[in-house]
Subunit: 199 residues, 2 copies
């Protein structure tokens, strides 16, 4: 059957992503990944010599996807309000498209925080300097120690948490999955407004 479609390797990576996202490193099974990719276990080890290596590849890809756009937005040329709007829009849509990605990263970093330094060394994951300067310029209160950090933490929390905790939050708000999805759709505008008020 060969690799008519996407290369076998890519198919493996895609499938492994969905499995690892849902079950984590320890819960995932090489056999299941192989089955879903339409190959057998030996083939899997042919392309990725170990589960650990396959996982690393998936994790690196996930982290890149999760952090990738953020840096670009935050270090872009846009004025502060536009930048905030971009960040919120980007994050919410990106996360909504890949359910489980945020929870996956949080869970695996909880167990092995060193995976961060492993891939990013001592370099800053995301350079916040430009963003911090824009904040301080917009409102003197963000010159106070930690004030900019709180703003950033708020921004991330408001965007990420509702996606991360969907199973719990949707039940707390006793909404159906469809209702909750609509609710999430509204949030980008809601969050942007809330944050802009803080400037």
């Amino acid at each position: 059957m060969k690799s008519l479609d996407a290369s076998t390797r890519d198919r493996i990576l895609a499938v492994a992503g969905t499995v690892f996202y849902q079950k984590g490193l320890s819960g995932a099974r090489m056999q299941e990944i192989a089955d879903l990719a339409g190959i057998n276990k030996a083939m899997l080890h042919y392309y990725f010599k170990s589960k650990e290596q396959l996982f690393d590849t998936v994790f690196q890809q996930a982290l890149g996807q999760f952090l990738g756009g953020i840096g670009q937005v935050l270090n872009g040329e846009a004025a502060l309000p536009a930048k905030i709007e971009q960040y919120v829009a980007y994050t919410t849509t990106a996360l909504a498209e890949t359910p489980g990605l945020a929870a996956f990263i949080v869970h695996e970093l909880q167990q092995h925080p060193e995976r961060l330094s492993k891939q990013f060394g001592d370099s800053r994951l995301v350079n916040l300097d430009a963003f911090r300067q824009q904040l301080a310029a917009a409102n003197a209160r963000y010159q106070a120690p930690h004030a900019a950090e709180h703003f950033f933490a708020n921004m991330v929390a408001l965007c990420v948490y509702p996606v991360l905790a969907q199973p719990l939050l949707s039940r707390l708000l006793h909404q159906s999955e469809a209702q909750y999805r609509r609710f999430l759709g509204e949030r980008a505008a809601h969050i942007t407004q809330l944050l802009l008020e803080q400037l």
Copy 2:
């Protein structure tokens, strides 16, 4: 050596909590739990007939701890501002004391959302009616559809996320663990102020 101290069962539950919080259901090993509890594997199965049953007990306990106080605060007699302050203070301190608990719940619910209904049936996990009414009374804008839900989601997100994503956020803000802990300590006041401004 008998059970001089806390009953063996309680010791198992405490130990199993820390192990499950860190490694999840699939990552936890009965042998490790037994070792940490100072017993052997057979004893473990004597008190809990299966890993699944032990896990269920731990998970139920964790969920109770996580949601327990919330309902009481939100349905208490306090006025809205005091209630918000109480919620923030309660949540932040409770989560800070049990590292991994939030990530544990999020991870396991991600995989098996049905665990929620399993334990709470169709009953509301937390009754938000009183809180919603107080919000609507404080500011007419919270009578709009979903407005109260957004406020609640914001409140939870701001409190929980920084604890949940500590490994990632502390690196993004390039802070040491000690610095980050101080940062978290500041947040209760910061969040409360932000939320009260929204009324």
